[in-house]
Symmetry: C2
Subunit: 245 residues, 2 copies
DNA sequence: CAAGCGAATACAATCGATATTTCGTCCCGA
DNA sequence: TCGGGACGAAATATCGATTGTATTCGCTTG
């Protein structure tokens, strides 16, 4: 089953990759994990040195990321890491809930045997994977499976556009999670939440599944929001143009 | 009020433009107007000659367009005009109706004086502009105002993400309209449709406005669909790799 | 003799180094 | 103190070199 997504946002790098794509995936990963300070400038020269590629591939990668909303592009002035703010996060979450609700309802309405299987399998692997690594760092494999699980839920919605949009918003949400360093091992039982969503979806209980899903997203958002606000407290001054570490 | 859109899809080129951006807007325009055969390969060399720029700017522009779903990018093999099909159009329309409905409902729920004014003004100019030029060609100014009008309707939805997604889908729909050469001066009274939508929206009649809006979109889609199918009839053979004119 | 496989060739995308343009800043003069 | 011009840093563009892919031609084999 080839994954030729309609809009350009597949979840994993292709096998045969061009150099520009390699840089794209690396930089994307760094952006999603909050490795670069929001609002800071990303100089081409820096990226060239950091990722070991020429200016052309780097520039291409940055253009793609700008189209996805991970970078800001100012003509003749270069690229900047997309800024974050509490307001933006609330707007993001709101939008995400709207779209995911629609996608999930459609998915349930058009459920197939195949769709059910994918959810069951995704939940299975998610349940058998550690949320955090020993060091308290997020487990990349869990992140991937988490993404797969949520993708499986809405896979039957019959709109690749909607799926693409949801993925894009999910990426943004992930970015906020990592930037805010939220989820520092709270008492939250994420697996139970996922199980709840899956169970209700598989039962065909659209209202229940949607309710569970949105509570799941809103809770995550709330935690990020709190962490974000406490991080923004220290200095109220907006700081711009701080180069990446 | 600056229009720094969140996702990268402003409706008009910026004043101070880089060469890559110039190519981007020109090529985008050509793609939206169906000037290039769907599924045909767009060679970098061709674009270089056609738009009078170097390979790097062209390549950048193409990467951006690929992210927006107007081009397909195959690593190491170049770019292709995104293919069209009846199925794709139906999927597109479906998604568009979902998102526009949500956006319009939210917009009406959060309506402001400013929002009302913008709609009234947009409708005014739209009503005073010719749909077609003398030659039966679509009037670019009307296209622009049409876009502005539909943008104004959902402008108060409090989600730049949703607005951006709607714009992206609107662009795709426009592309289908032009490719199918639909709307060949049918007996349709588009102005009345727009008036109807605006009136109901301004009255706060969400259900009525949504109904009118979706009928509007579905009708457009249906016309494109018919024209598309009649165009696909002549030769059932899928033809690939036909260079652009 | 036809079909299939393989290597060589041609074409096009990709890349890196260099040149050019632009923007921001600092300094000087009014 | 404010306006204008020059300097420097950085983005942008061009060009030539490289790499990768598709095609074609020729050979082998059934």
């Amino acid at each position: 089953m080839t994954d030729t997504s309609l809009s350009d946002a597949p979840s994993s790098p292709p096998a045969r990759s061009t150099l520009a794509s390699t840089v794209y995936w690396q930089l994307r990963d760094d952006l999603l994990h909050g490795a670069l300070e929001p609002n800071s400038k990303v100089r081409v020269e820096w990226a060239v040195a950091h990722y070991g590629a020429g200016a052309s591939p780097v520039r291409e990668a940055m253009n793609r990321l700008a189209s996805e909303g991970l970078l800001e592009r100012h003509d003749q002035r270069g690229f900047f890491v997309m800024p974050v703010s509490a307001d933006e996060l609330m707007e993001l979450t709101r939008t995400r809930c709207w779209l995911e609700e629609k996608a999930l309802r459609e998915s349930i309405a058009n459920r197939t045997r195949r769709w059910e299987e994918e959810i069951v399998v995704a939940l299975h692997w998610l349940s058998r994977t550690q949320r955090y690594l020993a060091a308290g760092q997020a487990n990349p494999e869990w992140e991937r499976l988490h993404r797969v699980f949520h993708g499986a839920l809405i896979a039957a919605c019959r709109s690749r556009w909607l799926i693409g949009f949801c993925e894009q918003l999910a990426d943004q949400a992930r970015r906020y999670r990592h930037i805010a360093r939220a989820g520092g091992r709270s008492d939250r039982d994420e697996l139970a939440e996922h199980r709840d969503i899956a169970t209700k979806a598989l039962e065909g209980d659209a209202d229940g599944a949607v309710d569970a899903l949105l509570r799941h997203y809103r809770l995550t958002s709330e935690l990020s929001l709190q962490a974000l606000r406490s991080r923004e407290m220290p200095d109220a001054r907006p700081r711009r143009n701080r180069g990446p570490a």
